[in-house]
């Protein structure tokens, strides 16, 4: 008997009875607190709590200028966003290891989640997944209209299985492993900056 058959047989033998039914999850999920601030304001506040930053920019040119302003010393800016060309296009990357020297990664996110202060990124946007974790700094472009309130809303919107990799990124990489002191830039990105401007604005 294969391990698979063995395990499934053991599970079938031992499943507790009575069986419990799958509960209904109401949609939309009833939140009992009234939100006084807008979803966007909520997102910006929570992102800041998680160690990230957010700024508004008018268009692609303004975003480009902002990146230069925020990271004046950056030598390698790898962009996955056509409106914001960096020094290297992620489409030209053959192997994730090539991204080891990236100072700033630029990506567009299709969705933000206010309760988490998180942006959603998939292989579709990243092109090379490692861009999200090997770049020293990340700049994420987000349409302010693409922010939802809760994780319930987010999971309903995204096509989870459509991409091999998808991450809710809430701020930069962090750790509290040494005496509980929160440090940003543990193993992944040192900073996460969200630039708000609508997609399609050139």
């Amino acid at each position: 008997m294969s391990a698979r058959e063995h395990i499934l047989a053991a599970v079938r033998r031992n499943v507790p009875r009575p069986a419990i039914p799958l509960p209904d999850i109401p949609s939309p999920f009833p939140l009992t607190q009234g939100k006084r601030e807008s979803v966007l304001a909520s997102f910006r506040n929570q992102l800041e709590v998680m160690g990230g930053k957010s700024l508004e920019v008018a268009d692609g040119a303004a975003a480009q200028a902002k990146v230069r302003e925020l990271f004046p010393g950056a030598k390698v800016i790898c962009s996955a966003v056509p409106e914001l060309p960096g020094t290297r296009r992620v489409e030209d990357v053959r192997d994730p290891h090539e991204l080891h020297d990236v100072d700033v990664g630029v990506i567009r996110s299709p969705l933000g989640v206010a309760e988490a202060g998180a942006v959603w990124l998939t292989q579709g946007e990243l092109v090379v997944n490692a861009l999200g974790v090997l770049a020293q700094h990340l700049v994420v472009l987000l349409d302010p209209a693409a922010v939802v309130a809760t994780m319930h809303d987010a999971y309903e919107r995204i096509q989870l299985a459509a991409s091999p990799y998808g991450v809710f990124m809430a701020g930069p990489s962090a750790t509290g492993d040494i005496e509980g002191v929160i440090i940003h830039g543990a193993q992944g990105t040192r900073s996460l900056t969200v630039l708000f401007f609508r997609r399609g604005t050139s």
Binding site: I7, H152, E156, P164, Y165, M169
Partner: protein, 459 residues
């Protein structure tokens, strides 16, 4: 005969390190307080808890169906699914996968299951270099210690301990105890290893049957590095990690990090559905006593655990004695109810390493009756004849005395006489643990019963 872990002795030694114990208690209680604040901001928390508990109970009572559904959907996505009955088989399967790809170096992100299976020493014996990518786990790896906490594995260490360790292992400045400096040093030390690794290994917090994908929650993004840089990604998943649908995932993701550290989610909530572009993805579904526990009416609810660590944060015993006092993969209250299931002889003392305060049951996001299970495990230990001799004899004598009023009253007079007349040096001796840190109670003139008979008994 497996040597039993002595949690009381270990705890005593940790408590003797005053600065360590005080810092540990303060930091861990701090995590409980952060959890309280985060939960207070979610008024629908109890509803989420109830749903989370029911979803898990539903899944576990239909586990075979969900395992098959997961395997089917994962395979459709191009994921290679393996099965392992126990720790040995898990390690062999993983080694096989690595070997067949010529992988000689591995970066691992935090996985309690891999710790449970003893994967790292197994691979190292077979000349595979293993680097823990999570900072806390790496600290523990370099210290030759298991993790002391599910979420913050090195929380029992002071920054000075880490500075000393890094000076020895990484060549950092031993006098610089700044956590920023130490973290940056580890970042620079680990990064080349990540870039050179042949394979990345992760665990999984949740496996979604509906899609055939799984979710890994980290704060450092180390799982993402392991999955996105090397061409081979292997994930070990305990069979109890299954949940039915994507919409169920929302409930758990909302509760996990709030319960753990008081944040709404971890910095990285990473979902894997099939191999990445240019890579390969393997999943090992592991039983290792889980199907057996499923068949236990008293203890199967422990399988609902989502590994948030809230129970250990609130536990007064864990906070004082430290996570290493449990001597097992899982520490704190969840450890007390899981570990004896792996080895009853070795962990027979753990159920007594608790004051049964019940706080763990209250904070558990999936409503595991942890405290009640701790109480039941005591009966199992006794029922298997594993109670230590001193406890056994003490309880039998006590039980006999308290069954009969004459015996009880006689014992009262003897006890009270002893307390009254014995000199301090005799009363407070090494065999009297009470007296080590406490004064003995003073003796009243009469018992209640004597007072009642004297003053109230009708003639």
């Amino acid at each position: 005969m497996t040597r039993a872990v002595d949690p009381e002795g270990r705890a005593e030694r940790f408590i003797a390190l005053e600065e360590h114990e005080a810092t540990h208690d303060r930091l861990v209680w701090g995590m409980r307080q952060h959890r309280d604040q985060a939960v207070a901001a979610v008024p629908e928390w109890e509803q989420l808890r109830e749903l989370a508990s029911q979803i898990k109970e539903h899944t576990l009572t239909h586990l075979d169906q969900y395992l098959e559904q997961f395997e089917q959907n994962a395979t459709k996505l191009g994921t290679q699914v393996h099965w392992a009955r126990d720790a040995e088989e898990h390690n062999a399967v993983v080694y096989n996968i690595l070997q067949s790809h010529g992988a000689k170096s591995l970066i691992k992100s935090k996985s309690m299951l891999q710790e449970e299976c003893g994967l790292t020493p197994y691979l190292q014996k077979r000349s595979i270099e293993v680097t823990e990518s999570d900072l806390g786990e790496r600290i523990q790896q370099l210290s030759n210690e298991p993790p002391s906490h599910i979420v913050v594995p090195a929380i029992h260490k002071l920054r000075s301990d880490v500075a000393e360790l890094f000076a020895k292992e990484l060549g950092t400045d031993p006098t610089n105890t700044d956590p920023h400096y130490l973290t940056e040093s580890m970042r620079n030390n680990a990064r080349p290893r990540f870039l050179a690794a042949d394979a990345g290994m992760t665990g999984a917090n949740f496996a979604v049957a509906e899609t055939g994908g799984f979710v890994v929650c980290t704060n450092e993004g180390n799982a993402d590095i392991g999955a996105s840089v090397p061409p081979l990604h292997v994930a070990s998943i305990g069979i109890e990690k299954l949940i039915p649908r994507v919409r169920d995932l929302a409930i758990f993701i909302r509760m996990l990090s709030r319960s753990a550290l008081g944040w709404p989610i971890t910095q990285y909530t990473s979902h894997f559905h099939g191999p990445r572009r240019g890579g390969e993805l393997h999943v090992v579904l592991v039983d290792n006593t889980r199907s057996e526990r499923l068949g236990s009416p008293d203890f199967w609810h422990a399988l609902k655990c989502i590994r948030c660590g809230a129970c250990m944060n609130t536990c007064p015993v864990y906070r004082r004695g430290g996570g290493l006092s449990y001597g097992a993969t899982y520490s704190g209250p969840i450890g007390v109810i899981l570990d004896p299931g792996f080895d009853l002889r070795k962990y027979r003392e753990l159920p007594f390493h608790s004051s049964l305060c019940g706080s763990c049951t209250e904070v558990c996001p999936v409503k595991i009756d942890i405290s009640e299970q701790i109480y039941k495990w005591r009966r199992v230990v006794v029922g298997n004849g594993l109670l230590t001799i001193t406890k056994r004899v003490g309880m039998t004598a006590l039980g006999a005395t308290l069954s009969h009023s004459t015996l009880f009253h006689a014992a009262e007079s003897v006890g009270e006489t002893a307390l009254k007349i014995l000199p301090r040096a005799v009363l407070y001796n090494p065999f009297n643990p009470w007296g080590k840190h406490r004064e003995m109670p003073t003796v009243p003139r009469q018992t209640f019963r004597q007072w009642y008979l004297e003053n109230r008994r009708k003639p």
